[in-house]
């Protein structure tokens, strides 16, 4: 028996493959123009399911877990997920606060919470980045970025 994560990814992808196949069966396999919209996804779903089974089987017959691979501590994965949550929060704030302020808040969060740097460092980087992005992308390139009630 190999690693648990291999088994888990095999099961997840197998389930996804089954879902794709079932959804594809609800679409016409053949249309008046030839192969229908369900044709290609059905074969993709079947391929995903079969290869996932192969992955599970290969893992089943693997005698020992691969010790050479680095074991991830829960703490390090947790840190990455906290950083990702910060990004998701900032994306959620884009339509309310605009790009500049959301980026500044994300920067503050990453530097203060994850990196534990002093407040003044976090503040100066956050303000500098927000201003830099505004100058380059909005003023110089004329891109339209999400803006808050104050216009940036």
């Amino acid at each position: 028996m190999g690693e648990k994560k291999e088994l888990l990814s095999g099961i997840c992808l197998g389930a996804f493959g089954a879902y794709v196949s079932i959804e594809a069966l609800n679409l016409p396999y053949v249309s008046e123009f030839g192969p229908g919209p369900g044709f290609f996804p059905l074969w993709i779903g079947i391929g995903l399911t079969l290869l996932s089974l192969l992955l599970i089987l290969a893992n089943f017959f693997a005698l020992t877990p691969d010790e050479s691979r680095e074991r991830q501590s829960r703490l390090s994965i947790g840190r990455a997920l906290v950083g990702w949550s910060g990004l998701i929060l900032a994306i959620g704030l884009l339509q309310w606060l605009g790009f500049g302020l959301s980026l500044a808040l994300l920067t503050l969060f990453l530097i203060l919470v994850l990196e534990r740097r002093p407040l003044w460092t976090a503040l100066s980087v956050a303000i500098g980045l927000a201003l830099g992005f505004h100058v380059i992308f909005v003023l110089a390139l004329g891109l339209s970025l999400p803006s808050g009630p104050w216009g940036f």
Binding site: G34, F40, R69, V82, I91, L94, F99, L103, V125
Partner: protein, 503 residues
Amino acid sequence: MEALTNLLLGFSVALTPGNLFWCFVGVFLGTVVGILPGLGPAATIAMLLPLTFKMDHTAAIIMLAGIYYGSKYGGSTTSILLNVPGESASVVTCLDGYQMARQGRAGPALGISAIASFVAGTVGVIGLMLIAPPVARFALRFGPPEYFALMVLGLTMVVFLAGRSMIKGLLAMLVGLWLAGVGTDLFTAESRFTFGHMELLDGIDFVVVSIGIFAVAEVMVNMESRGGTELFKVPRGIRNLMPTLKDLKDCRFAFLNGSVIGFLIGVLPGAGSTIASFLSYGAEKAFSRYPEKFGTGVIEGVAAPEGANNSETGGALVPLLTLGIPGSNATAILLAALILWGIKPGPLLIQDHPALFWGLVSSMYVGNVMLLVLNLPLVPLFAQILRVPYFILYPGILGISVVGVYSVSNSLFDVWMLGLFGILGYAMRKLDFPAAPLVLGMVLGDGMERALRQSLMMSQGHLSVIVTRPLSATMICLALAILIMPLVNKVRSFRLKAVEQDV
């Protein structure tokens, strides 16, 4: 002799002070556009189009083409330095380019990218000059079965991108193919896998997926430890920031490979620089003496795709100028520009507008030299980006990612998708699934499905149409050979081990 006379005519047009100026403006804007995410060459050309109405047409096409091929030079910069591919053709450059940057070799990676771009870009122009009309006629023989076979050949590059597990590489590729199918079916207008979201009817943009699984996932991996992973070493001194003679020697085949594959793929309308860069990377790895090192920071892994990406430009202008067929968004806008000026691209263009055609070709030689002179001195400057402390760099990368994705269609939904693909990319990294095959599947999926369905419509459902036409049959055989190659190698190494044990 005739080509030489025409070239002299071209240079007499391209080397006038006015045209030299517009050529410089074009390549400079192109470089900037290539480096900065969010503003591709197609959008830039479209924005500048109204300004060209009062310009001389030759000067205008020289400038617009300069933006087009100049952006290819700049495109590798963010891939190498930040693992942020600004366009699909730069994805392959991330694989070895970013690894080189992590090892303190960002300078040589950027330098070899500029040199490969120059060499292959020049070869592409020579190809455009010498063999444009016959190659264009050959490309017309490509029907849906040939395009399908070409896409299959492109997909077999998964063999070279799969990493340790072929099963995982194939699974990632299938997920990419599925992602390409999300949205409205072009043949029947039926929606597929849209989960009730109107925003998904147009499909998922490639930029969203690639920035998510490459850039956001990379930032997440580096967030795992406080202070970030120590990855950005930049040696001091210009000598350490440029490719060495050994690097150049190692890349000589990559220059050739990138030039030839890039040009040939460029000639095929719709094939595009992404396939060219993937194919040339695969070819480089297949013929390398150390294929196992690809993906860990091999300089040929940067030179080959970057060369192909630039040589493709010369190739893509062949069907555009000689047949009036654009192969990409940027060439479609160039076509629109020509038509708006009252110039009809097609077989008679060279005959009716020799100064414009040969002036453009000659300006591309000049433009490539300008780009090399412009880009090489900037390498040390760009490499300094890596000296920026990680706690500034990471929010900056996330900001650039959001800008790049949002500017595709000004959609916040796309930014949410960026977050989703970021976590998917991180999970793939943790579970040892390679990301490049997913991108490969996504890039080729749409065209492959269309070509397959058109082929089956042509043949009333008989798959044999793909193997009975000589061109498609050859490509399918080549694809099979590439797929079988790793198995043969495995059997051979197993046999050698068995023989050694017997001895």
